[in-house]
């Protein structure tokens, strides 16, 4: 499971793991020093559930029947959220 690789990193380590999962070979150049303030923001995997979902995406295996538009509508209903989109799907089955 690919996403488990991400779980092991935090902060800059997490960002570097994103690179490795996308097979990015490039390295980082450091420009300045800074330490993050723990009072603000969240490490992505540690977001409280509502934020985790708000800043989340679902890699969905869409069933062949409904359109992706319908599926997005269902997802919005399930999560009671107003905004959701989809990143693309295969063309609908042509009628015989």
């Amino acid at each position: 499971m690919i996403f488990l690789k991400l779980l092991e990193g935090r902060g800059i380590e997490f960002v570097k793991r994103l690179d490795s999962i996308a097979n990015r070979k490039s390295d980082y150049v450091v420009k300045s020093e800074d330490v993050t303030d723990e009072r603000y923001g969240y490490y992505p995997f540690e977001r409280p559930i509502n934020l985790y979902i708000e800043y989340g995406f679902i890699p969905l295996d869409k069933p062949p029947g409904p359109t992706s538009h319908e599926v997005v509508a269902w997802i919005k209903k399930m999560f009671s959220i107003g905004k959701a989109g989809h990143g693309g799907t295969l063309e609908p089955k042509p009628p015989i």
Partner: protein, 241 residues
Amino acid sequence: MHSSKEYVALMELHGDVDLEKLYEVFKMFTGRIYQRPPLRSSVKRSLRVREIYSIDLLEIINRHVLFRVKCESGTYIRKLCHDIGLVLGVEAHMRELRRVAVAHIREELPVVTLHEVSEAVYLWRKYGDETLIRKVVLPVEYIVAHLPKIIIKDSAVDAIAHGAQLAVPGIVMLSNDVKKGERVAIFTLKGELVAIGKSFMEAEEIVKNEKGVAVKIERVVMDRGTYPPLWKKAKKGEKSE
């Protein structure tokens, strides 16, 4: 995303073909090929070149050929099957198609079904159990994993969240393949995606320069106010109990 796509397709041949010839023809279709989009398409129907990065024949049973294909975005697999059939001399059509990857977003993540999503939401809403929902939903940061990245100081975050351009002094570190005119993803030190933008400078320029505007923001992801604005930021060491 105009990146590579990967599919597993089932092709049905309309006649019997010698195995060796099948392999030969499939090999022919690896590399750059010509394609004209089908009638049912939203794009201009001009002849265009697309690249097939690889084809792996998985299973061949009688006239059914199961194969995995990795190709350039915009390649029509249906047309590929049709054209392979023509070259084989027996004609063929695509019976089934499954997209298994878009760039780095792969089936192996794992992908989940609507049932699993529904179950995860139920367990969370009814019992407060978050374990399944945190497996089904993934952080949005994953989507921009393929982009060059710039990590910024906490003090620069809120301005960017308001759409302000990113200036050099706000940068902590950056991918060494940041290119002028190309897209970059801006992250906090905690690894949160702040925004996506276009770089005005090459990585080397950013490293050399003391000041200047480095990135034009195209799309803000983080909510404003997540981090305090620079001028309101409390002095370090002052922690309220």
